[in-house]
């Protein structure tokens, strides 16, 4: 039998080009995602069931990480109080607990989402379905955990000095931006981890130390004017600061200044911070979805 030399006899018709425009690509991906919403639900349900089956902690698991974060924050604040001699403000702990829930969601979801494609090798290499559902289902499962923690938090907040104000309407907006930002990062990183297996170690490292570059335990104003501005470059920072300020009764559509322990006035919020985070979250999600969708056809070859 003579095998034709592949290089000499390449087909006349080139491979079907899928380099459709950005809008068309995203629209196609979004359409497929919408059709697979039941699968997304089933996969998220799978992750939740596995997490709570044969688990000693039960729902306590959902609040473990936020509690740990708040504990760490307590120590950081005690150190500050000891070294500066300022008073410990208990009202800050309500906001810190809320930010801890947000951080726990982000860190947990990103960890699971990054590994989601490589953890489901047998599915990705054998059965066709829009692969976007795998990282998104990990995020949805983590969202369920965080909702439990949020309910626990909602019960605790009144005792920590947080009152119901009109500014609380910002919380759903901020939650939406947080989920969108997490989905954007999760889609991109799961895809990157499929091609380069050390991405998940990098993500672990970033999540371990990222808490120091994000205003969870501290507030940006503690770093002074320049430090606060730099920290706000982190797309997650305006979301967390927004949570803190809206719990404190501030609307987010005007500039907010706060007095630091040393007595200086520092601008802690500008309205465009919200737009900055929203741009990262929404544009980031669309770009990640586009990249993911373009690359998912070669996933099976790289697993």
């Amino acid at each position: 039998m003579t095998v034709p030399r592949a290089e000499d006899t390449l087909p006349e018709s080139p491979p079907v080009s899928t380099s459709t425009g950005f809008v068309a690509g995203v629209a196609e991906a979004a359409g497929e995602l919408w059709q697979s919403r039941e699968l997304l639900y089933q996969l998220a349900l799978r992750d939740i069931r596995i997490r709570y089956k044969q688990a000693v902690m039960g729902f306590g698991w959902a609040i473990l990480m936020p509690v740990m974060v708040v504990g760490a924050g307590l120590i950081v604040r005690l150190v500050i109080v000891r070294s500066t001699g300022a008073a410990l403000d208990t009202a800050d702990f309500g906001a810190m607990a809320a930010k801890a829930v947000c951080w726990a969601f982000f860190a947990g979801a990103l960890g699971f989402a990054t590994a989601s494609l490589t953890a489901n090798v047998n599915l990705v290499s054998k059965i066709y379905f829009p692969r976007e559902v795998l990282p998104l289902a990990s995020i949805a499962a983590q969202l369920f955990d965080s909702l439990i923690a949020a309910v626990a938090l909602a019960i605790a907040l009144p005792f920590l000095g947080v009152h119901v104000t009109p500014a609380l309407v910002w919380l759903p907006v901020l939650a939406f931006l947080l989920v969108a930002l997490t989905a954007a990062s999760g889609l991109f990183l799961s895809c990157a981890n499929l091609f380069f297996r050390d991405v998940k170690y990098i993500v672990q490292l970033l999540l371990t130390f990222g808490i120091f570059f994000t205003p969870v335990l501290i507030e940006p104003s503690m770093l002074g004017t320049t430090g606060a501005r730099l920290m706000m470059l982190n797309p997650l920072a305006p979301i967390l600061e927004g949570v803190r300020l809206s719990l404190g009764g501030h609307g987010l559509l005007h500039t907010i200044t706060e007095q630091t322990a040393s007595g200086a006035l520092i601008v802690v919020w500008e309205p465009w911070y919200l737009g900055y985070s929203a741009a990262w979250a929404i544009l980031g999600f669309l770009v990640s979805l586009h990249i993911f969708h373009r690359l998912e056809f070669i996933f099976a070859e790289y697993l």
């Binding site: 039998m1 095998v3 034709p4 592949a6 006899t9 390449l10 087909p11 006349e12 018709s13 080139p14 491979p15 079907v16 039941e38 699968l39 639900y41 089933q42 996969l43 349900l45 799978r46 069931r49 596995i50 089956k53 044969q54 047998n122 599915l123 290499s125 054998k126 059965i127 066709y128 379905f129 091609f195 380069f196 297996r197 050390d198 991405v199 990098i202 056809f297 070669i298 099976a300 070859e301 790289y302």
Partner: protein
């Protein structure tokens, strides 16, 4: 593309698929030095990578229309799985066009989505969703699925406590209740125990005869012969033969034999052809006329002394019948091309059989070499009065003996 532009179908036009061997950087730590090498090595690494490429499919084309069942056969590494993965959109072709019109149901890796810690019930919904079934449909067919798998009493037990057979049966059962417009089947005919295999085969038969386009990959050639309306033989990614199922199976089986036989090139005899005259589909009891051509070149008669033919059942490969010129006391000439004509009355049960020409060593039943194989398919015209490996043409009669019941009239 096709006359029926809207009907479901499978279209594979000049499909090429290239895989890369080696040099896949799967960590950033490997990538960075590799990029450096590529930049400073003047394309050395890129050239080496291109040499390592291999083509899993080369210019493969076929079409499957409604009502057609295509069987893809070939040895390991022939490109069968790659073809199915392209059809199911897991892989994308390097060149050419692969398109499936209609909702695909794939009986491939039927329990890949199972999670060991979840119960059978939870896994039915999970696996069904992964295969693209709407949850409402799963709910509606749930009882049927469990009933078919025969595991009703274990449906709320975690799958990790299932035997591997139960696992596979449940997986198959979910896939078998998809409502596809195009069916793709990969080697799932050997699921579970014998009884379940028969049940699964019946189900696949019913699905493939419902008029939808079907693509089937199997190593069980008897199943291919009985299910498929056409076939495709692949070898190392190239289409060797396409069309008639029997011809493809013949070419596949003969191809394997030739590779074995190619070791002794200096053989004094070569079997060049084996033909069944008047078609490969025979009725029970029909006379099959078989022609066998042999080229005798050697004078040394110590290596062989007769030619013959062996009939095997394709299912299981069991020998059904064997005859030779020695048994018929026909002597072979010293040299020249001979044509042996055999007339065989095919009193065989329904099924597919292979006719295998053979050369025997002198004085014993040891085979020196084999020739090209033909298959024939035996249909049974009447309903057979029994079953088994041979047809004994039974005639049954029943008489009531007069001594056992005195006084009653005896029916004759």
């Amino acid at each position: 593309m096709s006359p029926q532009a809207d009907s479901p179908g499978v279209f594979f036009e000049h499909v090429w698929k290239r895989f890369r061997r080696g040099e896949i950087h799967d960590s950033l730590r490997d990538l960075i030095p590799a990029v450096g090498r590529r930049l400073f090595g003047r394309g050395e690494a890129a050239r080496r990578a291109r040499e390592n490429d291999f083509w899993a499919l080369r210019d493969v084309s076929f079409q499957v229309q409604p009502g057609e069942v295509l069987g893809i056969i070939g040895g390991n590494g022939a490109g069968k799985s790659t073809t199915l993965k392209i059809l199911t959109r897991i892989l994308r072709p390097t060149g050419g066009v692969a398109a499936v019109r209609g909702r695909i149901g794939a009986l491939i890796e039927v329990s890949a989505g199972f999670h060991q810690d979840l119960t059978g019930r939870e896994n039915v919904f999970l696996q069904g969703s992964i295969m693209g079934m709407p949850v409402a449909l799963i709910r509606q067919k749930f009882d049927e699925i469990v009933e078919f798998a025969g595991i009703a009493e274990f449906i709320d037990t975690p799958v990790k406590r299932y035997s591997s057979g139960m696992n596979a049966r449940l997986g198959f059962s979910i896939a078998a209740h998809l409502n596809p417009e195009v069916l793709i089947i990969d080697e799932v005919l050997s699921v579970g125990d014998f009884r379940f295999q028969e049940k699964a085969f019946g189900r696949i038969q019913a699905m493939s005869r419902s008029g939808i386009p079907v693509v089937l990959v199997s190593h069980q050639l008897d199943r291919v012969a009985s299910l498929c309306t056409k076939a495709l033989l692949l070898q190392q990614g190239v289409v060797l033969h396409q069309g008639d199922v029997s011809e493809c199976i013949d070419a596949y089986l003969s191809g394997g034999m030739n590779l074995e036989g190619s070791k002794d090139q200096g053989s004094p005899i070569r079997l060049s052809a084996c033909r069944i005259l008047g078609g490969h589909n025979l009725w029970w009891g029909q006379q099959a006329e078989v022609e066998l051509d042999a080229v005798i070149t050697g004078i040394d008669r110590s290596t062989f002394d007769c030619v013959g033919i062996r009939i095997r059942a394709l299912e299981g490969g069991r020998e059904v019948f064997l005859t030779s010129t020695r048994l018929a006391e026909i002597a072979l000439p010293e040299r020249g091309t001979v044509r042996l004509r055999l007339s065989l009355r095919m009193c065989l049960p329904r099924g597919t059989y292979t006719l295998e020409p053979l050369v025997f060593r002198p004085g014993e039943d040891q085979v020196l070499c084999t020739g090209p194989i033909s298959t024939c398919h035996i249909e049974v015209a009447h309903s057979p009065l029994g079953r088994g490996t041979v047809d004994l043409e039974p005639r049954l009669s029943l008489n009531l003996l007069p001594s056992t019941a005195p006084g009653t009239p005896v029916a004759s």
